[in-house]
Symmetry: C2
Subunit: 195 residues, 2 copies
Amino acid sequence: MLSEITDNKQKIITTALNLFAKKGYDAVSTLEIANAAGITKPTMYYYFGSKEGLLSEILSIHYNRLLSDLESAASLPEDIALTFFRMMRIYFDYALKNKDFIMFKLSTFNRIGEDVTYLLSREYTDRESSIIKHVFDVAASYVGNIRGKEDLCTMTFVGVAHAAIGAYFHTGDETLLSDETIYRLRQQFLYGIYS
Amino acid sequence: MLSEITDNKQKIITTALNLFAKKGYDAVSTLEIANAAGITKPTMYYYFGSKEGLLSEILSIHYNRLLSDLESAASLPEDIALTFFRMMRIYFDYALKNKDFIMFKLSTFNRIGEDVTYLLSREYTDRESSIIKHVFDVAASYVGNIRGKEDLCTMTFVGVAHAAIGAYFHTGDETLLSDETIYRLRQQFLYGIYS
DNA sequence: CAATTTATATACCGTTTGGTATACTGTGAA
DNA sequence: TTCACAGTATACCAAACGGTATATAAATTG
């Protein structure tokens, strides 16, 4: 068994995710994935059963990693300032270390309807929202002004995270994902632009 | 000439945009568009030359309308609070009246790479960013604390707008795009969550 | 050593893809 | 009445699509 050396399964996952991020799921063919990964189509179908199965496994691996990290970061919601920093740091780190996945995530996050990538991502994005929502729910119990705005805060938090990461992809400027940026975003989030 | 009555060209545009929004550009075939629009493929190719030509015209029509509205709303950047409201109102109104287009816009906004929808949208999204950026550039001249954070503000503004519209599409709750929501978002933007 | 399982490739399938050659039809101008 | 042209449809194309039947070679297991 050469799989420990060659590890074709992992190669297929990495290659496919890269192509999906660059061109979009539907624009990438199974043959293109096979060629780029240096294998043949039946090998891909042996491991994943279908193109959709391949996407499903990619989503499972990365979302579970990301959401697990996010859950750790959200485990001390009593300190909203600290938790804001930690959660944003998780997003930025994941974007820096797993560019392809986060690029793909961003391009599917606001999808809706019959799109395959949306349907398969939904369970994870729902979990993601609820983790963040919980932070603001707890925060509302001791920061009165948040009360009634928990959903708004959740929405804004994710929106800002995505916007910053999107800007990083657009410009390539890594300082957009630095601690300094998080401090500024947090300052603005907590005290507004006049602070 | 029945075109004034039937108006097949307009029908194709509306139908195609609806399918693109629901399933994604690459997942929709020209035959599917033709069938849904009640015409045949050659008719579509007569008007638009190619599938890409059709997409291009859709983007041109809607982005030009949206950006023209946005420019009007941004014409008094001396009052940042007022301008914030006006610009957000433009986005929300367009989302309410042209659901399909904004849905499609959201799903392509954070794209990058070789994706056709990204490449064809880019000229418009660049213009969009620069309109908003200009507002914060002017604001920075009289609100000292904004200085150096113009790009951050632009990024945040667009991120928040998209997040709110995305939440509306997700839940169907129209109050997410009400004046009341804009007031809250503005309050948070200007003074933070403690306000 | 024989049987089975894992991992791979060759060669193929029916269907769908974006796109077109060609012909027809109704309308307005000369 | 003839002509041109805008608009539309029938019927087709080569290429690419997602997926598979089958063979094969190496490794694991009895």
